[in-house]
């Protein structure tokens, strides 16, 4: 039995390949990296209408076989069967945006010239129709000599026909008109073919133009973007509350149930005070993370993200970067790891390095648990007028502090360490599209799963280790358990270093395990105070109340300022090492970010003390 045939989706960026891939494979997809390069490899299983199972791969979008970016290089090599360890695709499904034929047919001709069995998916015909464009696939079939199937990936239209066409696609002799011709001839041919295939055109592209007139307006556009970002951050705090409260109640109920069921021994304490308190303290932030990702995914799927990059280009240019850096940086608000990986679309190496180095300063979702706990405990839940909450405002200020810090660092880096020619900015602005709920749900599920898996592995392990280090050696009567423990002794050493910036021993203790992941700071604070709590106040051991009892407001603010900058995430360091091929840049990143965190926390503490807060 031979291996299943391999089908590759290939086409220009923004041809709707990913939507088509999702529609064809559903949730049966595997996302990994191509070996040696950090380009995402998406593959999945699919059963053709003939009953034949095939492997479907979604190749990175490209404008031609002559690569200008790492993504395009992968596409080019895989198609030609030159990528080590990657089987050459048996059938190409060339995806074209029906309303952008003139452009997409250029690459399509180049691909057809290879002579491989091919099928063309004329995708997003509904958007073309809405634009008043009526196309005749038969004309294209005639001109190109392969099956052309009209599809609407997001509405699942044309998928069966596409499957049938793939099943019957055969090797073709490359047409004489398609071989040995250059880019200019292809462009001329594309123009002619697109013209012939368009039956009627009523020039109704008004909706996109009107949206752009508003959203890219030199004055209104930035205001709309800023307002949207503000709404996102308010929503993250306000909308998530009922869900977070429900989760918290669930964790509390589980904690109590286990305490009452098990006999009073070491194992019970490990389970309740260690694992359930620690992991539970992080899991309750799932709703906030889901809401943040929902906005980011919707911005990407709707086509607004590229507009945001356009709007931000001027500002990014002022610190020596381009609008292209905006997309990785915005992704970094969810998590710096996909953000740093997304810098691969930046062609200029120095631009890319600068973006990688500042990406950890974007407030990632792992900081959210830390911010949320401290803000909820120390910032009063009141409004400052116009329905704007003070808590949301403080959260917004923390995000702004990270952004301003990043801009400042970029400015300095681009004039010193990563000095070079000003980078350019060339980017296609895709058509606006209503995001499909199914795709958003799938994306959200994948993100939520990654977060829960972290909670179940890294955070789980670190919590257990911390709990053991906090519980041994046992305290003698009259001595606090934390003071007596191993962890307490280590923290006492670190506390000397962080004392000048207002941190106490418990805060120092939280910083050590938080090197693994920032949100562990919350679970380790929860574990510390749970271990240290005497039996009578254990009942009311809400973390917020515990913090209020042990910290002052300037200390809390200093702790927040620390987390704006501190590079406390092993995964980010690891991905930086991989993306920059060595330890030099991750080491540099660690040093400068810790330096910034120390100065920022110290300044915040002493200013707050001076202001009498």
């Amino acid at each position: 039995m031979s291996r299943p045939r391999k089908i590759a989706l290939v086409g220009n960026p923004n041809a709707g390949k990913s939507a088509l891939f999702n529609a064809l494979t559903g949730a049966r997809q595997k996302i990994a990296n191509y070996p040696g390069v950090t380009v995402e490899r998406k593959s999945g299983r699919l059963v053709l209408p003939t009953g034949e199972p095939v492997e479907l791969t979604d190749l990175p979008g490209a404008y031609g076989l002559d690569p200008t970016s790492p993504d395009e290089e992968v596409t080019s090599k895989v198609i030609r069967g030159q990528f080590p360890g990657e089987a050459e695709p048996d059938v190409l499904v060339i995806v074209l945006d029906a309303s952008n034929l003139e452009q997409h047919l250029v690459f399509a001709q180049e691909l057809l010239a290879l002579g491989k069995p091919s099928v063309i998916a004329l995708n997003m015909v509904d958007l073309a129709e809405r634009d008043g464009l009526v196309l005749d696939p038969a004309v294209l079939e005639e001109e190109l000599g392969v099956r052309v199937v009209s599809t609407v990936a997001v509405r699942r239209r044309g998928l069966t026909e596409l499957g049938e066409a793939v099943a019957s696609a055969t090797l073709r002799a490359p047409g004489p008109s398609l071989t040995e011709i250059g880019a200019v001839e292809r462009r001329v041919a594309a123009h002619a073919m697109a013209g012939a295939a368009i039956l009627s055109e009523t020039r109704q592209r008004r909706m996109h133009a009107r949206l752009d007139a508003l959203l890219l307006n030199p004055w209104l556009g930035p205001l709309v973007l800023f307002a949207l970002l503000f709404v996102i951050f308010q929503a993250v705090f306000a909308w998530a509350t009922p869900f977070a409260d429900a989760l918290e109640a669930g964790v509390g109920a589980l904690h109590d149930a286990v305490r009452q069921t098990l006999p009073d021994n070491f194992l019970r304490d490990l389970l309740t005070e260690g694992i359930i308190s620690g992991v539970g303290a992080v899991v309750v932030f799932l709703p906030q993370i889901v809401i943040l990702f929902a906005f980011i995914l919707a911005m990407e799927a709707s086509g607004y993200m590229a507009r945001a990059a356009f709007l931000m280009d001027r500002m990014m240019a002022s610190v020596g970067l381009s609008g292209r850096s905006f997309i990785p940086l915005l992704s970094s608000f969810a998590c710096a790891i996909p953000g740093i990986m997304a810098t691969r679309s930046i062609t200029d190496p120095k631009d890319r390095l600068t973006t990688i180095l500042i990406a950890p300063m974007m407030t990632c979702s792992a900081r959210l648990p830390v911010y949320a706990v401290i803000i909820a405990a120390f910032i009063p839940n009141e409004t400052v007028g116009w329905g704007i909450g003070l808590q949301g405002l403080v959260l917004f200020a923390l995000y702004v502090a990270g952004v301003l810090g990043a801009m400042l660092v970029a400015l300095i880096l681009r004039r010193s360490i990563t000095k070079g020619a000003a980078s350019g900015f060339i980017m296609e602005l895709p058509k606006y599209q209503l995001p499909r709920l199914g795709d958003l749900a799938l994306g959200l599920w994948q993100r939520a799963w990654i977060f829960l898996r972290r909670a179940g592995t890294i955070i789980f392990t670190v919590t257990i280790v911390l709990w053991i280090m906090l519980s041994f050696p046992r305290a003698v009567p009259g001595q606090s358990q934390v003071d007596a423990s191993f962890a307490g002794k280590i923290a006492n050493g670190l506390a000397v270093v962080v004392e000048p910036i207002g941190f106490n021993r418990d805060m120092a203790l939280a910083l050590i395990p938080a090197m693994a992941a920032r949100e562990v700071a919350v679970s380790s604070l929860a574990t510390t105070y749970a271990v240290d709590a005497t039996d009578e106040d254990r009942e009311a051991a809400e973390l917020g109340d515990q913090l209020k009892g042990h910290w002052t407001l300037p200390m809390a603010l200093a702790f927040l300022a620390w987390f704006v900058f501190a590079p406390q995430c092993m995964s980010t360091i690891a991905v930086t090492r991989r993306e920059t091929n060595g330890w030099k840049w991750p080491a540099f990143m660690l040093a400068y970010l810790f330096g910034l965190a120390y100065v920022a926390a110290g300044a915040t503490y002493w200013l707050a003390v001076w202001a009498g807060l």
Binding site: Y63, G64, D66, T68, S99, N100, E102, Q103, V106, A183, V184, R187, R205, H208, A209, D212, A213, L216, N217, P218, W219, G221, P222, A306, A309, F310, L311, D313, R314, M315, A317, S322, G323, T347, D348, A421, A422, G424, F425, I426, M427, E428, L429
Partner: protein, 84 residues
């Protein structure tokens, strides 16, 4: 005249592109997007807060964002007079 000087939505045709003013990768990317002699283009949006950087240009059915420096390398002529 060059593309960056065009008023919004005026249709012009590219006469020539001074590729030597551009970084090779950027030149290739622009070519891949269809920026080359003969193509019809127009400026659809200009940069934020009254600035003139970046510029969104319409080429075929695409909107492409470029920097002013790129647009300055693109020599254009009125669409009707040249190839009408």
């Amino acid at each position: 005249m060059t593309l960056d000087q065009q008023p919004i939505d005026r249709k012009v045709r590219i006469v020539s592109v001074d590729w030597s003013r551009l970084v090779p990768e950027e030149a290739r990317r622009l070519q891949a997007l269809g920026v080359d002699a003969g193509a019809q283009v127009s400026v659809s949006q200009r940069g934020v807060f009254g600035g003139c950087d970046p510029i969104a240009i319409r080429i075929g059915r695409m909107i492409v964002a470029v920097r002013r420096a790129h647009a300055q390398a693109i020599e254009v002529a009125d669409a009707e007079t040249l190839f009408a």
